[in-house]
């Protein structure tokens, strides 16, 4: 190749270079476009309802399609309570499992268990919901709910009829099953990122395995584990299909966990296709907006906790 035609060649590849760079940049920026689009569409769809009900929408407990009056409180209540139930069940189990997998389990058992947990994370929500309807809810109806009522019936949480089955508690349990894999795998990443020196120092003091875990690992990883839990909460708040299938879809605020309820996501999923007129769909859009706001805030908190805990070494979980 002589120098004469090398020149335009290089110029061409420089053009190619900057074109390629701008192309990839544009694709990366699509992320922001998507975020803008989500916010814009929800706000636009919710206009009518926001205009009509104002802030009352958030505190009113009427959800009455017949009279076209809507309030989000029962759905917000159901979302919060079912997520709390899910966290109460999922957090101890997930963190304990993560501890077992990183600190206590024999080597040969770790990889198979991790694979099982990743597969559980891959089970589609609708399949878990199907299993929930036909296996879990009948099992809860009898014997679990009567058993709980017999021994804990003095609490308002466990009062009321037990024969319905599809209930707040069923919803909470199914959400727990859905968030356990994510809390477990993020917690595992966190525990793995605890420096080995921490452990060795504790072993050198003559600590047993569990003492090492408690003193050197868990207390060190506290903040990161909290981030994992908050990330799980974000998923729990937005979990849709499985919850819609087992929670009973009833717009009410009652203390009993045996009673049907609904969540922000389940109301949208089960009512959107039937919503007619200008106001009803708009109210559902506004539920979506509330849900988006809450989950985004929770997720931001989780990401900040995880990022400040371990820097780039902890991989994001999807």
């Amino acid at each position: 190749m002589n120098p004469a035609n090398r020149q335009p060649d290089r110029a061409k590849s420089q053009h190619g270079d900057s074109a390629f760079k701008w192309l990839t940049l544009a694709m990366a920026l699509v992320i922001f476009v998507l975020i803008g689009l989500i916010g814009f569409e929800l706000l636009r769809g919710a206009q009518v309802s926001m205009h009509k009900f104002g802030w009352r929408f958030l505190v009113s407990s009427d959800w009455d399609p017949v009279n076209d009056v809507y309030g989000a409180l029962p759905a917000i209540f159901g979302t919060v309570v079912s997520s709390l139930i899910a966290l109460i069940i999922a957090v101890p189990i997930s963190v304990a499992t993560a501890v077992y997998l990183t600190e206590l389990a024999p080597q040969w058992l770790r990889q198979p268990l991790i694979m099982f947990i990743e597969l559980l994370a891959a089970v589609p929500s609708v399949i878990l919901g199907l299993w929930g309807i036909f296996v879990m809810v009948p099992f809860l109806r009898d014997p679990v709910f009567p058993f709980l009522q017999k021994y804990l019936g003095f609490l308002p949480l466990f009062k009321g009829p037990t024969y319905i089955g599809s209930s707040m508690l069923a919803g909470g349990i199914i959400v727990a099953i859905m968030i356990i894999p994510i809390i477990t795998s993020v917690s595992r990443e966190i525990l793995r990122s605890v420096p080995g020196l921490q452990r060795e120092a504790a072993y050198a003091l003559g600590a047993t395995r569990w003492e090492v875990t408690r003193i050197a690992v868990l207390s060190y990883a506290k903040k990161g584990l909290f981030g994992a839990v908050i990330l799980g909460l974000g998923r729990a708040l937005g979990e849709t299909m499985a919850v819609t299938m087992v929670i009973g879809n009833s717009s009410q605020i009652v203390a009993s966990l045996f009673a049907p309820a609904n969540t922000l996501a389940s109301v949208i999923a089960s009512e959107f296709n039937e919503a007619t007129g200008p106001i009803y769909p708009s109210a559902l859009f506004e539920l979506g907006l509330v849900l988006l706001g809450v989950t985004v805030l929770v997720n931001i908190l989780a990401q900040l906790l995880l990022k400040t805990f371990a820097g780039p070494s902890v991989k994001p979980q999807h």
């Binding site: 689009l37 569409e41 929800l42 101890p92």
Partner: protein, 283 residues
């Protein structure tokens, strides 16, 4: 330190070891139970008709969900066409170009997008496409799944590109090869297996998504002849059959769920073999 204290500590150690083991079993239990019931209820309801016939009306025996199986693949194809190029090229930018500040924000935004509830995506695309197009369509269903894939694919692509040793890039640079050629022909090609893995995992995740499809793809008891018509999908049909009061439909739902889970798990397990290979080469 007394002997009894020592024994107490040893006991506590064994106790916690057992307790955490029991928790691990509790985590795995639902998967085993779901799998057991799917095989028991679903496998027995599977037959040739299931894969070749259209759904039957209520009360008529037999029928299948060939249209929903095809529909799921059509939706996934559209999602891949829409989501993969954007995701992969965006991932290339994050890994190969860009200031660290902008990249931090893009990564952060992608992680937040991954946490957006799937039902929200459905509502958004309803407002964006279904209302202007005067009805649900296969196109809207494909696009919503594609949108959900973008942040997933972008993050995994970036991750695997960063695993490509810097020496490869430097060697190409020393030969005077343009950066974009280096990126496409050397960096991406080296990491291709990892990128494909990420894309397949993202596909397997959106394959089971139901919530975003309820108001976009909507479902269809027959065939969709155009992309502007509503289309059937396996998760949608499973959902509709499961909440129906008919035993026949419940059996179909179990069979559909069995097939869908097999598809999703096959991708997940298959991908694991792909990546295991990669780690072996490294070691």
């Amino acid at each position: 330190m007394t002997v009894s204290n020592h024994n107490w500590r040893k006991f506590k150690n064994a106790f916690m070891q057992t307790l955490t083991f029991v928790c691990a079993i509790l985590v795995v239990l639902p998967l085993v139970l779901v799998f057991y019931h799917l095989v028991k209820e679903g496998f027995s309801a599977l037959n040739w008709n299931f894969f070749t016939k259209l759904p039957k009306a209520v009360g008529e025996h037999g029928g299948g969900m060939v249209n929903a199986i095809a529909g799921t693949f059509i939706l996934l194809l559209q999602a891949a066409i829409f989501g993969v190029p954007i995701g992969v090229l965006g991932g290339v930018y994050l890994s190969e170009y860009g200031g660290s500040k902008l990249n931090w924000w893009i990564r952060f935004a992608a992680d937040i997008l991954n946490g957006v509830p799937s039902i929200t995506w459905g509502v958004v695309v309803y407002g964006l496409l279904v209302v202007p197009m005067h009805g649900p369509s296969a196109l809207a269903g494909g696009i919503v799944l594609g949108m959900m894939m973008i942040p997933l694919v972008m993050r995994t692509t970036e991750e695997v590109l960063q695993l490509v040793p810097g020496g490869y890039r430097e060697a190409a640079m020393a030969l005077g090869i343009a950066k974009w050629k280096t990126t496409v022909q050397i960096v991406i090609r080296t990491a291709l297996k990892g990128i494909v893995t990420g894309v397949l995992l993202a596909l397997s995740r959106v394959a089971g998504e139901t919530a975003p499809l309820i108001f976009t793809a909507f479902g269809n008891l027959g065939w969709a002849h155009k992309l502007t018509e509503p289309i059937a999908a396996m998760p949608l049909l499973i959902f509709n059959y499961a909440i129906s009061p008919y035993d026949d439909w419940h059996r179909q739902a179990w069979a559909g769920a069995f097939v869908l889970l097999m598809l999703v798990l096959a991708i997940n397990v298959g991908v694991r073999f792909l990546t295991r290979d990669r780690f072996k080469q490294k070691a």
